[in-house]
């Protein structure tokens, strides 16, 4: 495969984690401008784990997910009673706080006579695990998409489970959910923690993919983008945010010839799309229709299969 294509596909895969993270909160009805903070925390934590402490990549990614989740729960508890714009701005404030703290964060140790580790606003270079352990770009791509498939599979199970129903109920109407016996507070903190873990894994992958992170990467732009993916692709299914990422990066790549006008075209396309489909391409209606059609097709297959093989009346 072409190196460039691998690079683009890796980007799409990694950023999908962030989009899924924002999407999970959108399911519970909350807009977060701050998921990039957990992406950053996961990235720094996992990078420190392999580059400074010599951990394996698996352990480092789990550690990134754990720190992302822990941080998300810590933010989730005080912001529990905030909604809508208030919640969105609180998460924005938290994410910017984290970004500035990473600018002030110095933790370097000397490895083979070279200083390695986060160096404030100069960033954290030389997260060289994939080069030290000869993980090729295709292998790393497979790792990204393996984990992404696991995450999407988790979402599919979630949508069918009581937990998923509870999340969507809270998203529709919190008071009604509470009256139906859903422990709203506990579910919201759980959703925040899960979203933090997903973002943390994505961050860990990102840090190892690029070998380098710096605080500026994790600014508001990244957060709003990740939120936008769900809305562009659709809020009906976990494939929505993935479609959003694909559209964003895919369309941006394919209109390269327009160079300086790319953002103008792309911004206009997104705005136009949202006028016609305010809940994205794969919104609940479309998903419902697809599911219905699928059930009909499936039922037809089952019926024709159960007919006697001879077929005569």
């Amino acid at each position: 495969m072409d190196d460039y294509l691998i690079g683009v596909l890796s980007n799409i895969g990694v950023i999908s984690f962030l989009a899924l993270s924002a999407y999970l909160l959108l399911l519970t009805g909350e807009i977060s401008f701050g998921q990039q903070a957990f992406f950053a925390i996961g990235g720094y934590a996992a990078g420190i784990a392999t580059a400074l402490w010599g951990w394996s990549l698996t352990a480092a990614l789990l550690w990134g997910a754990a720190t992302g989740a822990a941080a998300a729960v810590l933010v989730g508890v005080p912001t529990l009673r905030l909604h809508g714009l208030y919640f969105a701005i609180a998460t924005l404030a938290f994410a910017e706080m984290m970004r500035i703290l990473f600018e002030l964060f110095h933790y370097q140790i000397s490895i083979d006579g070279e200083w390695v580790g986060p160096d404030g606003s100069d960033g954290f270079r030389n997260i060289r695990y994939i080069f030290e352990n000869d993980v090729g770009p295709v292998q790393f791509l497979a790792l990204i998409y393996g984990l992404l498939a696991a995450a999407v599979g988790g979402f599919m199970l979630l949508e069918r489970s009581r937990l998923g129903v509870a999340f969507r109920m809270i998203g529709e109407d919190e008071v009604l959910a509470e009256m139906h016996g859903v422990a709203v507070a506990r579910h919201k903190v759980l959703a925040a923690g899960l979203a933090g873990a997903i973002a943390g894994i994505g961050g860990g992958l990102y840090a190892h993919m690029t070998t380098y992170v710096e605080p500026r990467i994790f600014d508001v732009m990244l957060g709003v983008h990740s939120l936008a993916y769900g809305l562009i692709g659709g809020l009906g299914t976990a494939f929505g945010p993935l479609l959003g990422v694909l559209i964003d990066i895919g369309v941006l790549e394919s209109i390269r010839t327009f160079a300086g006008f790319r953002m103008i075209i792309f911004g206009g396309l997104v705005a136009a799309l949202l006028i016609f489909r305010p809940r994205g391409l794969l919104d609940e209606c479309v998903v419902h229709r697809i599911a219905g059609a699928w059930l009909r097709v499936w039922g037809w297959i089952l019926r024709s299969a159960s007919r006697p093989a001879g077929g005569g009346r």
């Binding site: 912001t79 809508g84 208030y86 701005i89 706080m97 500035i100 809305l231 911004g267 206009g268």
Partner: protein, 298 residues
């Protein structure tokens, strides 16, 4: 002690520009119940047009200010037409994301207009700062403060003493009822956008004339500062917007002078976060009720 007082003075002066940005924000939010992330970038487009005029024709401060405000209003109307007017009720998040997409667009347009990272912006006044005992007062800062107080009073008058204001207040109260009693909601909302953008344009002009330079970061800067000041002061409150701006300005001036720029930004976000958690309604706003946060309206 003198340092402390001087910092406070500087903070109030700069805070008044934050207050102006918050004023524009709060007017849009009050009327629409939707967040316009493109508020800062549309001001920036105006300011870039002003800069272009200054660079090519050596235009004077009044012409630059006029073009900045006019450009901001036009960009604001463009945002309203594209991101807010065509959106159905209940599509508040879509409006917000759409305004973010237009933010990207406006930023790129500004960069196409003037590609360098930094451009000079004409200053409003020349000459040494006024000295009052041990304190220094910059003339452009005083103009900023005067504008903040004047415009907020003017906006208050507009809202409570004019037919246009009456219509806006009716829409803020209940858009459906306002429509039923014969108020042209669409026109009034467009008017509110234009007024808010004009206030933002004035704020942007004053800040840039004080800094004497402009970068493509200005759009994001204006959106973020306006948003923080609005939330601290209280959503939808005019005195709250100004107060929030002043509080933010003072906090930033002090933390900047004692700890440097990183801690200055950090303390602003900590204040915002703590304020939202402990007092979501802000200093002067009402605490959010289910009605104001209902996503179906937002």
């Amino acid at each position: 002690m003198i340092d402390f007082a001087q910092n406070t003075i500087d903070g109030i002066m700069i805070g008044s520009s934050y207050g102006l940005l918050a004023l524009g924000f709060t007017l849009i939010f009050g009327v629409m119940r939707r967040l316009n992330l493109s508020f800062g970038p549309s001001i920036m487009v105006g300011a870039y047009l002003g800069t272009l005029l200054y660079l090519n024709f050596a235009a004077g401060p009044i012409a630059v200010a006029a073009v900045t405000v006019l450009g901001a209003v036009l960009a604001g109307i463009y945002v309203e037409r594209l991101c807010f007017a065509p959106m159905a009720a209940g599509a508040g998040i879509a409006s917000m994301v759409s305004s973010f997409a237009i933010w990207m667009q406006l930023e790129q347009a500004a960069i196409l207009l003037l590609p360098r990272h930094t451009y000079p912006f004409p200053s409003l006044t020349t000459g040494a700062p006024l000295t009052l005992g041990p304190f220094q007062l910059r003339a452009d800062h005083l103009i900023m403060l005067a504008c903040a107080l004047g415009l907020s009073a003017g906006l208050q008058l507009l809202l409570y003493r004019s037919r246009f204001g009456l219509a806006l207040r009716a829409i803020i109260g209940n858009p459906v009822a306002a429509h039923l009693v014969g108020i042209n909601v669409r026109t009034a909302v467009l008017g509110a956008f234009a007024v808010a953008s004009a206030i933002g344009g004035i704020a942007g002009y004053l800040v840039l004339a004080t800094d004497q330079q402009i970068t493509p970061m200005f759009g994001m800067w204006a959106t973020i500062k306006g948003l923080i000041a609005m939330m601290i002061g209280g959503l939808g409150s005019i005195p709250g917007a100004i107060l929030g701006g002043l509080v933010l300005g003072c906090l930033e001036a002090h933390s900047q002078s004692y700890f440097g720029p990183q801690i200055r930004d950090l303390s602003a976000y900590i204040l915002l976060f703590v304020c939202l958690v402990l007092r979501p309604g802000g200093l002067l706003g009402e605490a959010p009720t289910r009605e104001t946060i209902d996503r179906r309206r937002a």
